[in-house]
């Protein structure tokens, strides 16, 4: 750990910590949403960036946790705090099923298989009207009473987000995380070295699903509403695009990408009706000029400067 990196992190955390005092309520709610989606983006990055397998099912895992949390609190009348472990457990269950089916494939096949699995979840949420409410979704306040105040909730999300980011950071730098990187580089070589690549990918997928599930429950707390659009393909794509814009394989790229996309979605629509076009243009330009993402480009620029 070098001093400049620590300084950046301390600076970022301080800026985030003073937000409730300085930001208007709408921007605070946007900041909370950015932190929640950052977790989703980072969960995608664990697989896409570090294990080299790009998934299109994390929206479904995220949404499953949201649905279960909402159902648990509003329909089943459970304790809002317990919605966290219950929702995460549901996400882990879904991730287990997905990973067992998908980890033996890679590349485009992995992409398509996870896409299809995500769509199955979407179909279930659409049709199982008695439980999921169908198109109408589930509404109701799922947040614990202690977090009812927007500032209190923001600090909670910030704390959870910071701890999770630290956990993911330790995970990808651990020997296990390095083995995932090795699988990304050359799976056959890892196998010849004696690693059980399938089991490693499975565990990596499960950890990724856990983070996505955590993000999903926080979203239930934030939104007080869930509908099939939360488990749809578009949600998985959104997570993936956040990772790409921020920088695949750079963990914090997920946070940057989440901020960029959420700000664009919400602020740009004040200025133009055609905000989806602006978003689309952003993605096209990113893929042409900065395929390594914003953070990737920043790191490359810093490296070239250090070399001189």
């Amino acid at each position: 750990m070098n001093i400049p990196r620590v300084a950046w992190i301390v600076l970022a955390l301080t800026a985030l910590a003073i937000m409730p005092a300085v930001a208007p309520p709408y921007l605070l709610s946007l900041a909370t949403l950015i932190l929640i989606y950052a977790l989703l983006a980072m969960s995608v990055d664990i697989l896409a960036g570090y294990a080299g397998r790009t998934p299109l099912c994390h929206g479904a895992i995220f949404g499953t946790a949201t649905y279960v949390a909402m159902y648990y609190v509003t329909t089943a009348g459970g304790n809002p705090w317990l919605a966290l472990p219950v929702g995460i457990a549901a996400a882990l269950g879904v991730s287990l099923v997905f990973s067992v089916l998908a980890v033996r494939t890679n590349g485009v096949y992995f992409l398509l298989l996870t896409l299809a699995l995500g769509m199955i979840v979407w179909g279930v949420c659409q049709r199982w009207t008695s439980v999921s409410g169908g198109e109408n979704g589930i509404r109701g306040n799922a947040r614990p009473a202690m977090l009812a105040d927007p500032s209190a909730f923001y600090y909670f999300v910030l704390a959870v987000g910071a701890l999770s980011t630290y956990a993911i950071w330790r995970f990808v730098r651990s020997p296990f995380g390095l083995s995932l990187k090795g699988i990304r580089e050359s799976e056959s070589r890892m196998r010849s070295l004696g690693y059980n690549t399938t089991r490693h990918l499975l565990l990596g997928f499960l950890f990724s699903g856990l983070v996505a599930g955590l993000s999903g429950v926080l979203y239930a707390y934030f939104n007080s509403y869930v509908s099939p659009s939360s488990v749809a393909l578009a949600q998985s794509v959104k997570g993936l695009l956040m990772v790409i814009v921020g920088g695949v394989g750079t963990l914090f790229g997920g946070i940057v990408g989440s901020a960029v996309i959420i700000v664009l979605e919400n602020i740009v629509s004040s200025f133009t009706e055609r905000w989806s076009m602006v978003l689309g243009a952003l993605f096209v330009l990113t893929m042409i000029f900065a395929p390594e993402g914003i953070l990737g480009k920043a790191r490359a620029a810093l490296l070239t400067r250090r070399k001189r």
Partner: protein, 419 residues
């Protein structure tokens, strides 16, 4: 210059150029009345959504965008036909743009999501198009009022009555989009039809934005009913009517539609496939009532097309709100007084040509027409009234208290009377 640099510099220039366009849309000025209009400008019901904005703005353009000495500013946000986006935009309008009240949305699920937000934030929310029954029945919210709107099950009931009594229809299959609005419209139809003695042979439900209707049409052919009640909105309505005709079903089995299925926003893009479809609604653009004729002419002059239910509802809602705001002397910040004024207003100048008032539950009472799609001399199609059912409320002929004891219409409860 190579291609990469060309694209880079064009993008940069383009980005700079758009800055010039920004200042037009930003809010400014102290003292204006700020209205937050949410409508689906993208998604499956974008055609209707666009007309919501047009109808609403038409009224303010006609009256000079002022009430008393305060300017009226309308902030339009796209809810993308999606409840999550609708919630985001509702939050944005309330917390950032700081509007005085919210209005709009089209799909019932977006309306329900925003109503939940209105409940917790206390901002007044008016729903001229959101027809989810329970918002003025079992789950009434004090600051959510269905101004110039209607409840889903209110409209198809006269059609069921007409079909049974005047057309002699005894067996019906219903096909509908699988969400609250569909469930409630079919429920309203099914309950009256079965209580009169008819049979609902089967009920088909499909997700919003279904591209291919052939599996459903095949099932209808198999069931061989006297008539089909089709509850469709937006692009789904267009597709069903076209595919119904393509399959050769037109003329073989009578098609009854919900008012949204034969709405102008749908039939103006179709041709003879829509001719002859019956529906029931409070608004028929082919009505020869002078107020309706005048409104249709003005709308056509402004937008070069005939008005749909979406344009009409929001025009009437703007009129209604304007009268209510005048009653409270433009003091929209006093929310309880504003809501009270809205409830007490009796709208007399609406394009319907008759007075409209709210019942005690916050839903208007209308004279409902049975309308038929007929061809105009210029080749376009519109809905002409062929019969009138006066004074239809959201409760039909039922006693409100006993009606509210039955569960709300859903996929599983359609009010079908068991023989």
């Amino acid at each position: 210059m190579d291609r990469r640099n060309f694209v880079k510099s064009t993008a940069a220039l383009g980005g700079l150029a758009t800055f010039g366009a920004f200042d037009k849309v930003l809010a400014q000025g102290a003292g204006p009345i700020k209205i937050g209009l949410m409508t689906p400008l993208t998604g499956v019901v974008a055609s209707g959504g666009r007309e919501i904005a047009e109808g609403f703005q038409l009224y303010w353009d006609q009256t000079g965008k002022r009430i008393g000495n305060r300017e009226v500013q309308v902030f339009v946000e796209d809810d993308g036909s999606n409840p999550d986006i609708a919630l985001q935009k509702a939050r944005k309008l309330t917390e950032q743009t700081k509007v005085d009240f919210l209005i709009g949305n089209l799909l019932a699920n977006t309306g329900l999501a925003v109503a939940e937000y209105a409940k917790t934030s206390g901002i007044p929310y008016f729903i001229p198009v959101i027809a989810a029954d329970d918002l003025t029945q079992r789950q009434r919210i004090p600051n959510v009022i269905r101004v110039a709107g209607y409840s889903a099950s209110q409209m198809p009931r006269p059609l069921a009555d007409y079909a049974y009594k005047k057309l002699g229809i005894r067996k019906v299959v219903t096909i509908s989009q699988d969400y609250t609005f569909g469930h409630e419209q079919c429920g309203g139809f099914a309950q009256v039809f079965t209580e009169l003695g008819g049979t609902i042979v089967s009920q088909l439900w499909h997700p919003l934005n279904t591209q291919d209707m052939s599996p459903y049409i095949a099932q209808i052919q198999g069931a061989a009913p006297d008539a089909v009640f089709a509850m469709e909105t937006g692009a789904d309505a267009t597709r069903l009517i076209q595919q119904w005709s393509n399959f050769g079903m037109k003329g073989k089995i009578r098609l009854l539609g919900a008012q949204n299925a034969t709405d102008q926003s749908v039939i103006r893009t179709l041709g003879a496939e829509a001719e002859g479809i019956l529906s029931s609604a409070h608004f028929a653009e082919g009505n020869d009532n002078p107020a309706t004729v005048k409104f249709v002419a003005e709308y056509q002059a402004a937008f070069k097309k005939l008005p749909s239910i979406y344009g009409f509802s929001h025009y009437s809602a703007a009129m209604w709100l304007s009268e209510a705001i005048k009653r409270v002397n433009s003091n929209v910040e006093d929310r309880p007084r504003l809501l009270d004024a809205v409830r007490k207003t009796v709208l007399s100048g609406s394009p319907l040509g008759r007075q409209v008032r709210l019942d005690e539950y916050g839903n208007p009472v209308y004279d409902v027409f049975i309308r038929e799609v007929v061809k105009r001399p210029d080749g376009t199609f519109w809905n002409k009234p062929i019969e009138t059912y006066p004074g239809v409320s959201q409760f039909w002929t039922y006693n409100p208290d006993s009606y509210l004891k039955q569960p709300s219409y859903s996929r599983t409860f359609q009010g079908i009377k068991k023989v």
